[in-house]
Symmetry: C2
Subunit: 407 residues, 2 copies
């Protein structure tokens, strides 16, 4: 007997037929003698509709009311799945965030989970009642509904799995698992059987859309065994686990890309002490998330060129902040949205030198110019011109031995 | 300064434009210095969609899950109206049933209100914050969402008005008030300026769809002054008030009709003591609501014919109960759905004799046969063949002086 958390995203519960299919999957687990808690997203499209209404109702909306409106989507799915389960003779009840309760701070719209009281839910699980929890939502200490931010249902599921001390957290989605890279770009990308938390975290934050970054970080902290798998097929998925569970480590596990980056270059900045703080301080204060940074010092050492990347959506904001702050003297500000960040990821890099060199050589051989580089212990990222990104991903996928072998 | 409860039904909040129009109406009241609580229904169509899904998910649905799903509709409207109010600089917050809390018993799907704790809401009202409450919903003592049954938002509004000791409960709907009869049948039906609780109660239970019967009974018990008015025009509505607030009473205030009745006749029933109990006991036990009853005793006194009416939807159920109970011996059972109940209503009848006689004469003059009669202190109802109902309503409307005078 295991205790399992199963999470189903929006496409997996897009309509009643899909919800019925989910109920059958849950029944398989209960028939096998497992205790099951299920976390559901809103039906695909519902959240978008509700978000659109709140924006139309009040462009500068009160996040507490936004949360009240938007959380209704998961409420509907939770009730409907409980009904579909009952209809196939599986005992079930729905739980809303405030009923668990799933306590969060009061940062509405992107609340953080503080405490989950699972005592009542565990009683039900031990009575073999499936607990269907509305994902994405919690309750603040002033008894208002909060939401965890887009994609927050993954985080709900992992947090619930941690609180329930579940043996496994199965994340059902519309892909069959975690791939070495995006199969739309590299048709012979391979599905990974296992991936480490660290690698998954990099994959998620670097653009792979399979799991929400926060949920992976939480799983890593609480050692929740995640399985990513498809709700549309019966194929085995990808397990996200501790490094020591993976016997034979690949040097490189995956290639990720992020198209939503933009590059800003300040030309002819006076190279005085504290200049970096003058530039990046106001950007941080304005909530602009700066990612990669490089600085070239001119020959005479008096002027410098500074290049950094920000989310594409924040280019105008960043530009305005720099123009208005007044502290920073520069000759010219240039921005470029036509860039893509390509990352090579693998825990094996720690013990293998030469990955960076091989990456740079591979790109050079294809005539691809590298604009910015940043590295961490288990990943190397480069910024290149957008038009080369598929070419770059394919070349790196091959050179690091990730292509599937024809069977 | 007054304290007002305003209630808006589904057509009044059918889309964002309508919700914005509602916000403007609310602002008028706050601008006039009033404290305002608003009760909202789900956007027109939403509840039907949610109900349909629950029925498809599980035909014999768990009413607790039904309530969880269906109550989401009002939750969405409450949040959106709060946002629309904030957007025109009116301080507002939404309240869900469980947040108030609006305590009910645990008869899910048709719960009854037990207690409303308005202390926190009153604090907000006194700070001039508009309180937007999701109608139709409450919370049971095991912390599950309950709903009050279709049309329950009227009851929510009246109950809230009673609990808040509001000066007025304005029910905004898609008609301009309470009419002497259905204007679709009698184009020169008049809108009533005032109507008594008792009359309104008869009108509501006899088929006038303006207010939910339960809400009128509650208003009468708690002496809540209701005003029924249109959210689409600025015309004054109809006040539902105590009898002593109406100076000049009409003998007859309105003509109602109900098409959803059906007639069942048992021919040749053995006329033994206790036979009525044998017939109507099992029907009551089966939750079949019997309305009008007549009994004709045959010449020899040994056999009797019994006729009664039940809701059209319950004809099959009633027939089965009578056939299966076995206690009742009869020669023949006949049912007839082609009947309509016509009612003449007015508190003035108490002091005016002859209303019944005039009603019967009027119908006879039009060649309309009366099948069953029932009376109360302030109403007379007759059952006639369905095909005559418009003719009957028009004739009675004219003969009792209800036609509008051309202006």
């Amino acid at each position: 007997m295991s205790r399992i958390v199963m999470k189903f995203g929006g496409t997996s519960v897009a309509n009643l037929d899909r919800i019925r299919a989910v109920a059958l999957r849950v029944k398989k687990e209960t028939d096998a003698g497992n205790q099951v808690a299920v976390v559901v997203s809103a039906m695909a499209g519902t959240t978008d509709q509700l978000v659109k209404w709140t924006a139309e109702a009040s462009p500068m909306h009160d996040a507490r009311e936004y949360d009240t409106v938007v959380s209704a989507g998961e409420q509907i799915t939770a009730g409907l799945l409980a009904l579909c389960l009952q209809n196939i003779d599986v005992s079930a009840r729905s739980w809303l965030g405030w009923q668990v309760p799933f306590r969060t701070n009061n940062i509405h719209g992107s609340a953080r989970i503080e405490d989950i009281d699972t005592s009542r839910m565990i009683e039900r699980l031990e009575d073999n009642i499936v607990c269907v929890m509305a994902g994405f939502q919690g309750i603040s200490d002033d008894e208002r509904i909060t939401t965890l931010g887009r994609g927050g249902s993954d985080t709900s599921a992992v947090a619930l799995a941690a609180a329930l001390k579940a043996d496994r957290c199965d994340i059902y989605t519309d892909v069959e698992g975690v791939y070495t890279t995006d199969p739309r770009i590299v048709p012979n990308a391979r599905k990974l059987d296992k991936i480490t938390y660290e690698e998954m975290l990099e994959m998620a934050s670097l653009g792979a859309k399979v799991l929400q970054t926060r949920s992976v970080a939480m799983a890593m902290n609480h050692r929740v065994r995640i399985q990513v798998l498809s709700s549309f097929t019966d194929a085995p998925g990808t397990l996200v686990v501790d490094e020591d569970e993976i016997m034979e480590k690949q040097v490189v596990s995956g290639i990720a890309y992020a198209k939503s980056e933009a590059k800003i270059t300040l030309v002819g900045v006076e190279n005085t002490p504290g200049i970096a703080g003058d530039i990046f301080g106001p950007l941080a204060a304005g909530n602009v998330n700066v990612d990669m940074i490089i600085q070239n010092i001119s020959e005479d050492g008096k002027k410098t060129d500074l290049t950094f990347t920000v989310p594409e959506n924040d280019v105008d904001k960043a530009t305005n902040i720099l123009k208005e702050s007044g502290h920073v003297k520069y000759a010219k500000l240039m921005s470029d949205r036509e860039v893509v960040k390509i990352s090579v990821i693998g825990v094996g890099m720690r013990s293998h030198a030469g990955v960076a060199a091989r990456m740079f050589e591979t790109l050079a051989a294809k005539g691809i110019n590298i604009q910015v580089i940043s590295t961490s212990e288990i990943k190397i990222s480069v910024l290149i011109r957008a038009e080369y990104y598929e070419l770059a991903v394919r070349a790196l996928h091959t050179v690091f031995g990730l292509d599937a072998h024809p069977e």
